[in-house]
């Protein structure tokens, strides 16, 4: 059974849902059966947002079980750490090198995990951890909100068998027309950044 499982994680407002809509649409365009499940609680800003997207010949469960995720795409570092055990050993982790402190951290009651500790944990699951400065890249383009599309570019680079045009089209259909050029640049930037990371490995 060939199945590709994606787990996308972020913090409310980072564009996690839109990104997972794109991943689902690309799967459909590539001829897969697709299911997507949103796992978010109450409609509040600042909460964790997680989505599961599954591509396959025939997808039954809309959820991915622990140890079955092929790609973790995290828009925030702590959220990557939170869901890392969902990854299958050797799976791919794409992490936005960006931290959003939860209330308990900003209030000084908890500590945000140090980068080194995160790296150690990630490495215990997989060698394929890629930290990308997606928010910084998006800011460079003029809008931090495009951080999600930067990571989609990186993800597209990891899925060479999928035609790039499927990604571009799915993104174009989901962002307001005036933001299309920005998002196309963000996507290309993510692709290039990922290509560079892979070459240096």
């Amino acid at each position: 059974m060939t199945m590709i499982n994606f787990l996308l994680a972020g913090v409310g407002g980072q564009g996690t849902i839109l990104a997972s809509d794109v991943v689902a649409a690309v799967g459909l365009r590539s001829g897969h059966d697709v299911k997507k499940s949103e796992v978010h609680g109450m409609a509040q800003r600042g909460g964790s947002v997680t989505t599961h997207v599954r591509w396959g010949e025939k997808v039954f469960s809309p959820l991915i079980a622990p140890g079955e995720v092929d790609f973790v795409v995290a828009f925030e570092k702590l959220e990557a750490l939170r869901y890392i055990e969902m990854l299958r050993p050797g799976g791919v982790v794409l992490v936005n090198d960006y931290a959003i402190a939860p209330l308990s951290v900003s209030a000084g009651n908890d500590e945000y995990p140090a980068d080194e500790r995160m790296r150690t944990v990630f490495r215990a699951v997989t060698p394929n951890v890629h930290l990308l400065a997606a928010t910084a890249m998006a800011e460079e383009l003029g809008n931090a909100k495009a951080n999600n599309v930067v990571l989609l570019g990186a993800l597209a680079h990891c899925l060479q068998e999928v035609p790039v045009e499927a990604w571009r089209e799915a993104i174009r259909e989901r962002v307001p027309p005036k933001f299309v050029p920005l998002n196309e640049r963000a996507f290309a930037m993510g692709q290039e950044a990922m290509a560079e990371l892979r070459n240096t490995m």
Partner: protein, 601 residues
């Protein structure tokens, strides 16, 4: 037409394509998107009703009038609507009526995880249970057909995982043409529709006979499907559990029940006789398991799979391994990681939330707060810890009245939001006026139903379909109920909130305080956001501002020279400029909007 739809969107499409003319609901997770998707569709009427009981009565009325109708609610909404639900089962209708109940296993956003299949059996109403988005769409039309064929309301039971999962759905994209040129005459049939005891006694046997016929129908119902594969194991399942069963036991025989009440007895007996071992995989209660056991068939279910919470393929697989149904070798290896404790990211009151100042004040006055369901429930969390009871929609005022009548050492107040007040708070407020306790009711009017994502309500002056409408005046309503002390305050004005609360606490008799301020996330309010700033020279790190519990207020890396404590800093990306912290700061170290403007000039 192929679309990628959530279960909720698929239900809306199914309703439109099968000719539903009238739909009513009260927003509630995980059901809210159904009416939001349905409302803009052409040729239909859709409304947010004040509560689920009213919504169901509206749908029943439409069905009495000969139009296909739908009422939508979350599982606990059916508790509110139960009275109407039961009479609707007794009377039947003139046209199809589907009642959508969205259950919430795992309680992603609910106070309990009741299994509403029991309500189907309780009221002798057939229950359809879709397993994916396609079935969610298909079963709406099927439900309406069954409703008309058997003269019964039909429950369409969703769960969070069905409502909020997306899959490919084939749609017709068309709706049967409305052939009515004028409104039909209301058909008078008092023996059927006036449920006085004499008529009700004649109806009850009709209802029991209806269930017998439905059980017959269930035997050949196309959505009750036996898939025979390997005969060693047979699995009876419904809803999303079907997907987990197929994924974990690809070779097993499966009896998938699209109708979970009434169950097809012969089909079950036949299926059981064809397999060596029979199990049930179902979320929450052992509903099917008990129905099967009543037939005298040996079956296992909850002895293997958990009764609490959602299932998923991992839980099903591991439970099956434990029970010896599968070899341990099929277990998906899991990594054990030493991650240490991770800081949680729970839902919290947003930066700029108008509720925050009110709760800061009730804390300051050491009030016991009998709370209710809405965003403001989150005030129970630290550092505020300002809400002390919350059970169900509208409970706050009745509970506060009871507390007040019993008598406690502290003062207590009832706190609830605008939409919750309309939902079930109104009769309880009337009770306070009528029975005159000292109860103070704080209505937090943030001009919207915020928790479920900004739905309109009778206080907003807008309907679900965007029409302008009358806007309830809380103050006039309270006076009409008999309250003499009715005050209005700005939720952002801490002095005003405190002074008014104190006045009401000192006075004899009941009071209503309307604390008004629009939700900070409303589009118009967002335009007015101005991030505030801390004057580092003035801040001495006393930490008082942190007690308001705003995510935008963070501890700075800069320490105060004298006290050694971290100074406060404001995250400009999060701060909306509500000025609650600025009012709390004793050293005036947090600059007000006016000060920031003056600086610029």
């Amino acid at each position: 037409m192929r679309r990628f739809l959530s279960g909720n969107e698929a239900v809306a499409w199914g309703a439109w394509e099968s000719g539903v003319r009238v739909a009513a609901a009260y927003p509630g997770t995980p059901s809210t998107e159904i009416l939001e998707t349905f409302a803009p569709m052409p040729g239909i009427y859709a409304e947010w009703s004040p509560n689920e009981k009213v919504a169901l009565d509206v749908a029943v009325g439409a069905a009495y009038a000969g139009s296909r109708a739908m009422a939508v609610m979350k599982h606990v909404g059916l508790n509110v609507a139960a009275d109407s639900y039961f009479y609707a089962s007794m009377t039947g209708m003139e046209a199809g009526l589907v009642i959508v109940s969205a259950d919430d296993p795992s309680m992603h956003s609910s106070q309990n995880e009741q299994d509403n299949r029991h309500y189907a059996k309780f009221a002798r109403v057939p229950c359809l249970d879709p397993a994916d988005s396609q079935e969610a769409r298909d079963l709406v039309g099927v439900a309406l057909d069954i409703s008309e064929q058997f003269d019964t309301p039909v429950m369409l039971r969703l769960t969070t995982r069905i409502s909020h999962s997306y899959g490919v759905v084939n749609l017709s994209g068309t709706r049967p043409p409305d052939e009515r040129t004028e409104n039909p005459e209301y058909r008078i049939d008092t023996a059927k529709y006036v449920m006085v005891p004499g008529n009700a006694r004649r109806r009850h046997p009709v209802i029991e006979e209806r269930v017998r016929k439905l059980a017959q129908f269930a035997e050949s119902f196309e959505h009750n499907r036996a898939e025979l594969r390997d005969r060693a194991l047979g699995i009876v399942c419904n809803g999303v559990a079907y997907q987990y069963a197929r994924e974990v036991f690809p070779d097993a025989s499966v009896l998938k029940l699209g109708m979970t009440f009434p169950v097809p007895k012969d089909l079950l007996r036949q299926f059981a006789s064809q397999v060596d071992r029979l199990i049930v995989i179902e979320e929450l209660d052992p509903f099917l398991e008990e129905e099967i056991r009543l037939l005298g068939i040996a079956v296992e279910g909850k002895s293997i799979f958990p009764i609490c919470g959602e299932l998923n393929q991992d839980i099903v697989r591991e439970s099956a391994i434990q029970a010896g149904l599968l070899p341990a070798s099929v277990s998906v290896p899991k990594v054990q990681l030493d991650k240490g404790p991770l800081p949680p990211r729970p839902p919290i009151l947003c930066p700029g939330c108008p509720h925050r100042g009110v709760f800061y004040t009730t804390n300051k006055l050491k009030l016991v707060v009998n709370g209710d369901i809405g965003c403001y429930t989150l005030a129970f969390l630290p550092p505020l810890g300002a809400l002390h009871s919350c059970g169900c929609m509208g409970a706050s005022i009745g509970v506060a009245h009871g507390v007040s009548r019993a008598g406690i050492a502290q003062h207590n107040v009832a706190v609830l939001g605008d939409s919750t007040f309309f939902h079930t708070g109104m009769p309880a407020l009337l009770n306070v006026a009528y029975n005159k306790s000292n109860t103070i009711t704080l209505i937090l009017d943030n001009r919207t139903t915020a928790m479920t994502g900004h739905q309109a309500n009778p206080g907003t002056g807008r309907t679900l379909q965007g029409a302008e409408t009358a806007e309830v005046e809380f103050e006039a309503l309270a006076r009409a109920m008999g309250f003499e002390r009715v005050q209005t305050v700005d939720s952002y004005d801490l002095d005003e909130v405190e002074t008014t609360l104190k006045e009401c606490l000192e006075a004899e008799g009941p009071a209503v305080i309307v604390a008004r301020r629009a939700c900070a996330l409303m589009p118009d309010v967002r335009k007015e956001w101005v991030p505030l700033r801390v004057d580092e020279d003035r801040c001495n790190g006393c930490g008082l501002c942190f007690r308001v519990g705003c995510p935008a207020l963070v501890k700075s890396d800069v320490l105060d020279e004298k006290t050694g404590r971290p100074k406060a800093r404001i995250d400009p990306l999060l701060c909306t400029g509500c000025e609650i912290c600025a009012q709390v700061c004793a050293r005036r170290a947090i600059l007000f909007r006016s000060q920031l403007t003056a600086e610029v000039q």
